[in-house]
Structure formats: structure tokens, C-alpha cells
Symmetry: C2
Subunit: 315 residues, 2 copies
């Protein structure tokens, strides 16, 4: 009676679909997954905080999620692992309108500060403690995916977001924008805690490595098109996703280019660094780190070696 | 190691989230699901055609889908059943700009006709055959969720859509809109084939009837608020979903009111009628209809009997 299609694969995005998902969106629209024998269903979450659990229970095959959340998932007992990177180190921090008068982290005293999900609050509270704030010096407001609206409507004064995503949209809608980078504030050296990775369960990696490699190969094909021919790639994206055929989406796309992973590789240094940061934040207990949190073993080897690789958008 | 939360529940919508999902969106925003002990994760599909398979394999707990697709899913061997109705008989048919000159189905000769997924094409081809069209008299174009854009950009001349969804948006963006209702063309008597139902696997119904009833009770609570106090409900929706705080979303919300199910009940007459239509279309083989396709057994009994029920939006 019950015949799930062998080739069906589900990918749960980390955020409502946006131009920084272009490598996946384009690969799907151009039939690259189908050519690999995969029928890929894409799903958007209403709440980004749901993703690791849904992936961790194996309900969907693959999910996208930031590094720091991957450690949190492992710490909660979800047996997930990253099999590749979509975006390396997108600049992340406290976004605000310059007209707000905010100039440094100390100006957040007395302000309402938005964050997406619970780890954003952990990061905020840690920075506030380092800065010597007292409890009550600021108000933390959970706002999910609505930072830009929340700032525009005056619900918050600032909030944690990504420069090439909410930063660009806020600027487009409201004027000049400032960004206090969390990596600078926390002395991390890079925004790798926010690098966006493809994650799945260890069980799936053991059972179906071939399908996962096929997925990564098709994704890398779209990625290569984007990095080599961004203008053409954007035109194709806008054609297949009419909602992205507006000036804002165009800006979001081009501002994402520097962060797209040329090879989809996991960077061991970044995982190590984010692991230490997660331990510092109390998100990850040292004993949870026994297993590997990532693998590069499933990445395709030189799949499009015949494609000219231009240095335009080196990561 | 692996502890999925007992209270976690996933709902995959039938379409990107839109004001006709307000009963679910509002119940979630107002904490009604949490009060029932449910932590509900909402997911949007990129392709509506993916929903029945993802629900049918049990990857998500509940999905939303139109009646005709439920029969198609059963016919494909997915053991799904409807446990309630969100929208009854939303007016569905061929949407077009009046400036196109289209006045009757016969005017579709020589036109490019958009449809969402494969059953839309089956419906179109059936109507064309009844009308005496020859193959090649029209061009069918699969456009997924992008009908309004496709008409605006001149990619298609008309396409299958819902009056209170794409019809309203098309009118808002492009001018006067006409609708050739499929129920009239196909002599069905109502648009119940397009009624939108909550579906899940038979296995889940057997295993966790209590959780499903809790889900329906919370949903009905939001529904009751909407039908009794639509203006207040819209303000709450716009507050919690800032993307829906624009004039178009407001129109979409109020145009959906007449179709919302006051009780969430499955209507046996409609299922019977759509079953016959599905057989006529060749989507459903008579032998697939052994099991029940719906149940009302999980619906809560008078959960909010103390709430005044106004006759404003009688279905």
C-alpha cells in the first residue's frame, strides 16, 4: 500500500526563502537535483528555532542551520552533523538605524534589543555581562524573523541580524544602517558562529551517503553558476522566483555573494572556534563533544572541473 | 541520547502562508496550541504538490491539502485521512484580467493557461475535452504558486486560482478580474473539490487521537475568534505577522471569511461528490476507495460553548 518515492528528499531551510538561498533555489529551478535522481521538496520554517529539532528527529532529510545551533542541537541529544556549508561567516551583529544615535555596544543601555530565538538572547546577555551591564539595563525582545519590521515600527531599537539580509532590507526601507559585529564584540575573529550549514542525522549519513553526495553535487553546480556568472544567475533566479524580481531581492542576492561557499566545505578551524564559543556561552557541555560535528567526506570531488572558476567572490 | 519532545507537532501548510491560514497563524501567535500542550512548528512548502507525499510518509504530523488531492494521495497508496476542514468551497476557477477579452471558457482557445500542479492540468484538459477543444488549441503552463506574477508579466493569459487568494491579489495589482468557476463549468454544484482539509496518516490517528483533538481544539479557538470578531482578529494577525499588515493582506483576510469552517467539520456530501469527480478525472480508481477518506471523530465537542457564535459568516 505504502510506497514512498525512493528519490524523494526534503530540505528544510533555516529561514523564509531569501536570495541567500540562491544556490539551492537555482539548482532546483534548473533541474540539477532531478538530474541527480533527486526530487527535492523545499520547506520554509515559520520559526527558525524549530529547524534543528525537526532535522534531529529525522522528519526531514536535510536542514540548514547556523554553526552555533548545530552545537546546541548536539548538546540537546539530537544526533545531527553538518555535511557542508552554504554561507561562510556572514557579518552578524546588532543592526540599527544610524538615526537612533547608537554608536557602540554601551549605547544599548536603556534600549530594546531584538533577537530571533533563544541563543540570540544567550549571546546578548553574555555580551551585556562582559560590558558590565546590570540586569534591567536593556530589554530583550524575541522577534523571530521580523527584525526589520520591528525596527521600522519602533518595537525595538536594535536587534541581532545579518548584514547581507536584514541589514540590506532595513537600509532599503528606512535609511542608513549601522552594524555592531558580534565577532568583534566577543573577540571571535570571524562570524563563523553564524555560518550556515547543511545538517542531517548521523543515521542518514550512514544509510544514504550516495544520495547526500548527489544533493551536494547538484547544489555545488548551482553555486558554481552563481559565483562564475552572478548577473546571469540572478536573472535566472528572478525568472523562476518572480517574488525575487524586485530591486531589494537583487541587492540581497549581490550582497550575499561574498559569503557563498565556493566548495561547500566545512572549515575545521571554524567548527573548533565556534565549539569553544558555544562552551563559553554554556550552550554546549564539553562532554557532548565526543562525536564529530561535521564531515567533509560526502562532498563531491571536482564535480565541475571543466567550469572556469573566477576569483570574483573568493570567500 | 535521542529525546524528541513529546509535545512537538509539525503542520505543513498547503501554500506559502497567507491570510486564509489565519485560524492556524493566530492560534499559534496567541499561544492556544501551547495551552493544549503542543509546540506547533509551521512549515511552508515551496511546491504545493509536495504536501501529500510528505504527509503520507509521516515525515510531518499534519498537512493542509485540497479534497481532490486527498483522493489522489489515497490512490497513490498514501494512507492519509482528513481530520477536519479549514476552508469550505473557496471559489476556484480560471482567473483573468477583464482587459484580456476572455468571457467564456471557449475564449481559452489559443490562450496560455496556467495551473499549479499536475491535477490542475487534468482538470483543465477534462474541461477542454468537454468543450470540444482539440489538442493544441491551448497551451497549459505549470506555474506553481506564481499565477498573479505570470499574468502580470504576460507569461500566461489566465490560470487556475482561488478567488479569495490570487483573484484578490491580481485585482489589487492589475485591475478588474474575471473568474470562470470550475464548479460551474464542470457542473459540480460547488467548489468543494478545492475545500482545504487537515490531513494526517491513519497511523497517527490510531496512535495519538488525543493530540490531534488538542490541535483541532486550539485551531477552532482561533477560528471562533476570527468569525466572531474579525476586525480584532485581523489587528492581532497584523500585529503578530507584520508581513500581513498591508492593505492587500487585509483584503485577503476579509475575503477569506466566508469560506472559513465554523466547526472544522468534514462534510460527507462534499467528500462523496469530490470522490465521484476524482473518479471521473481518472485521479481515483474505484478500488482505492475502500477505506474512509475522512473522520469527524477527532473534532472537539462544543469546546467554546460559552463563546457567542454570530451568524456573520455562515458557511
Amino acid at each position: 500500500m505504502f510506497h514512498p518515492l525512493k528519490t524523494r528528499m526534503t530540505l528544510l531551510l533555516n529561514w523564509r526563502s531569501t536570495p541567500y538561498h540562491a544556490p539551492v533555489l537555482l539548482s532546483r529551478a534548473l533541474g540539477y537535483y532531478e538530474e541527480e535522481g533527486l526530487q527535492l521538496a523545499l520547506l520554509d520554517p515559520h520559526d527558525p528555532s524549530d529547524v534543528t529539532e525537526i532535522v534531529g528527529t529525522g522528519a526531514v532529510d536535510i536542514g540548514l542551520k547556523a554553526m552555533v545551533h548545530c552545537y546546541a542541537a548536539v548538546s540537546h541529544g539530537f544526533p545531527i552533523r553538518s555535511i557542508g556549508t552554504l554561507l561562510h561567516e556572514p557579518s552578524t551583529g546588532f543592526l540599527f538605524l544610524k538615526s537612533s544615535g547608537i554608536k557602540s555596544f554601551y549605547d544599548l543601555r536603556g534600549k530594546r534589543v531584538g533577537y530571533v530565538g533563544r541563543f540570540g538572547k544567550v549571546i546578548l546577555d553574555d555580551l551585556a555581562k562582559r560590558a558590565g551591564f546590570h540586569p534591567g539595563d536593556y530589554e530583550a525582545v524575541r522577534i523571530g524573523m521580523d527584525l526589520v519590521d520591528a525596527i521600522e515600527r519602533g518595537v525595538v531599537d536594535t536587534g541581532i541580524g545579518i548584514g547581507c539580509l536584514q541589514g540590506v532590507e532595513l537600509e532599503e526601507r528606512c535609511g542608513e544602517v549601522g552594524l555592531l559585529r558580534i565577532d568583534a564584540l566577543a573577540q571571535l575573529g570571524c562570524c563563523c558562529f553564524c555560518s550556515v550549514c547543511f545538517i542531517c542525522t548521523e543515521e542518514l549519513i550512514e544509510k544514504e551517503p550516495g544520495r547526500l553526495t548527489a544533493f551536494l553535487r547538484a547544489t555545488l553546480r548551482g553555486m558554481t553558476l552563481i559565483l562564475n556568472q552572478p548577473e546571469k544567475a540572478y536573472q535566472l533566479l528572478a525568472h523562476h522566483y518572480p517574488k525575487m524580481a524586485d530591486p531589494l531581492s537583487r541587492r540581497l542576492f549581490f550582497h550575499s555573494l561574498p559569503f557563498f561557499s565556493r566548495t561547500l566545505e566545512n572549515v575545521p578551524r571554524d567548527w573548533e572556534k565556534v565549539g569553544r564559543y558555544a562552551e563559553h556561552l554554556g550552550i554546549l557541555s564539553p562532554t557532548s563533544r565526543n562525536g564529530e560535528i561535521f564531515t567533509n567526506a560526502l562532498l563531491p570531488t571536482h564535480p565541475y572541473a571543466d567550469t572556469e572558476m573566477l576569483p570574483l567572490c573568493a570567500v
